[in-house]
């Protein structure tokens, strides 16, 4: 299995002397579904921003398919659902318009979308079960439905790496389960590498193959079933 993501000796500080990440080593193989969990402020979001090349480590190296992450040549194959994703602007963008934005990099910038791009948009909307709501403004949907629309947007770009940062924030428990099942199905259908970031690892460990626990550095990396019981105690996790 070739490596999709490789972090080696990565440290990062927004301010000198205050490391958010310290000496992180992480390898993610192509097609793996990995949950990156840990307490709030533990460095999870910073870690994925380094993976995506949005931040550069103060020490160490970050690579995507062997290339430096910040200069990765196939960026159009990266799908990203940012933390607390919400629609920009006041205009009532529909599900179809939001998902179409996911074809920006792959479908070219000038003029309207071509037929093939429109088909991929419709396919992505169908995959998340929103076909009937394609012309509905996203803001009028529930939190869970909105997240589905954003996941479809990321899927429309046919990503080889999909990064979802806290996709269940603000979503009710039932929708969280349903989103988890959807991601599990999409992973087996698409074979993309998925990094799923969450501070509630209890919610994700049922459907991922590998759990990485981050608290400034990696404190656990393995199958969720082998996670020591002490990490299920919130007082220990957040200490």
């Amino acid at each position: 299995m070739s490596l999709a993501v490789e972090l080696s000796g990565v440290s990062f500080a927004y301010r000198a002397g205050y490391d958010v990440l310290e000496n992180v080593d992480l390898e993610v193989g192509e097609g793996e579904f990995v949950a990156i969990a840990g307490p709030n402020g533990g460095g999870k979001t910073t870690l994925v921003r380094i993976v995506l090349g949005l931040e550069r480590p103060s020490q160490g190296t970050a690579s995507l398919y062997g290339e430096p992450a910040h200069r990765f040549s196939r960026r159009r194959t990266l799908g990203y659902l940012a933390q607390r994703s919400e629609l920009g602007g006041d205009a009532p963008a529909t599900v179809c318009e939001v998902v179409s934005a996911g074809r920006l990099a792959a479908g070219g910038l000038l003029g309207p979308l071509r037929r093939r791009d429109r088909e991929l948009v419709a396919e992505a909307i169908a995959r998340v079960g929103l076909t009937e709501l394609a012309d509905t403004p996203v803001r009028t949907l529930s939190g869970g439905m909105q997240q589905r629309a954003f996941i479809a947007k990321a899927l429309a770009g046919e990503p080889s790496i999909l990064v979802l940062d806290e996709p269940t924030t603000g979503v009710d428990a039932e929708s969280q389960e349903s989103l988890a099942a959807l991601l599990s199905r999409l992973h087996s259908e698409l074979g993309a590498t998925i990094l799923y970031v969450s501070h509630e690892f209890g919610a994700v460990e049922h459907f991922v193959e590998r759990l990485v626990l981050v608290r400034r550095t990696i404190v656990f990396d393995g199958v969720p079933q082998s996670l020591p019981g002490v990490w299920h105690d919130p007082s220990h996790v957040h200490a």
């Binding site: 995506l52 090349g53 949005l54 960026r75 159009r76 990266l78 799908g79 990203y80 659902l81 940012a82 994703s85 629609l87 920009g88 602007g89 006041d90 205009a91 009532p92 963008a93 529909t94 318009e97 939001v98 179409s100 934005a101 996911g102 920006l104 990099a105 792959a106 910038l109 000038l110 003029g111 309207p112 979308l113 012309d135 403004p137 954003f150 947007k153 990321a154 770009g157 990064v163």
Partner: protein
């Protein structure tokens, strides 16, 4: 009204600005940068003053100053050196202060600045109309070709950045489009009201539209209608055209708000 050539020219110039202003303003309003047009307008005032001082066409120097101001605002904002509103304030006040100093240096404080501050659409010549129509066509073609990426950035700028969309270049293009729009709108509504046609039609359309694309198209319709209605009222009621056009756009916003409230019942 249409038998007077000055009104035909005014309606032609107004129609171009009425369509272009909301088409460009749409992307500024959606990105919470509604006052960028105003900031650029104040820099354009410095350009007008420089033109008077150097005895060059004030419209040309205003266009150059507006382009520089627009790009400066975008640079200060995107590099994170200054918060968006502070970047705007910096350009805003520097522009107006430079304008006052330059006008004074030209010994031209007695010049009729009103035509620049409040517009002079009834003095538009055939040559002016050709320039306005030419630059307007370039602006509208650019917006038409780049609608999708510009709308995509409004929807999710960070996602587009990760996927390698050239955000910086597109933002500079929006700033340049805003500058051209400001320079053209100066003749229609004046520097002090220059941003109104970029903002009010978009705000009105957002209240009643059902999608992003319909908001964009409705904004343009409201902008065009505001100019035509405003000019017509100003002709028959003998009112200043610039102010009347902006009041028509404000009235359209009020109507849209009412329609939205009725629909919500």
């Amino acid at each position: 009204m249409l038998e007077s050539e000055f009104m035909r020219l005014a309606l032609g110039a107004g129609a171009v600005v009425g369509v272009l202003s909301p088409a460009v303003g749409f992307f500024l309003v959606q990105r919470r940068q509604s006052l960028v047009g105003d900031g650029i307008g104040h820099v354009a005032f410095a350009g007008v003053a420089a033109g008077i001082l150097l005895d060059i066409s004030p419209i040309l120097t205003a266009l150059v100053a507006a382009l520089l101001g627009g790009i400066a605002i975008e640079f200060l904002r995107s590099k994170g050196k200054t918060a968006g509103d502070q970047a705007l304030a910096l350009v805003f006040y520097t522009g107006i202060a430079a304008g006052v100093v330059l006008i004074s240096a030209a010994g031209a404080l007695d010049v009729d600045l009103f035509q620049y501050l409040f517009g002079s659409i009834l003095t538009v010549t055939r040559t002016d109309l050709a320039v306005i129509a030419g630059l307007g066509a370039v602006g509208l073609t650019t917006v038409g070709l780049l609608y999708r990426p510009l709308a995509g950035i409004v929807i999710d700028e960070e996602g587009a950045r990760v996927a390698g969309v050239p955000i910086g270049a597109l933002n500079v293009i929006v700033a340049a489009l805003a500058a051209v729009t400001v320079a053209l709108s100066m003749r229609v509504v004046g520097i002090l009201l220059v941003a109104a046609l970029m903002v009010l039609p978009v705000s009105a359309a957002s209240r009643i539209a059902w999608s992003m694309r319909s908001t964009f198209l409705l904004s343009i319709s409201v902008g065009l209608a505001s100019v035509l209605v405003g000019l017509t009222i100003s002709y028959y009621a003998d009112l200043p055209p610039g102010g009347t056009i902006v009041l028509a756009a404000a009235g359209a916003f009020g109507l849209a708000l009412g329609a939205s409230a009725l629909r919500g019942r």
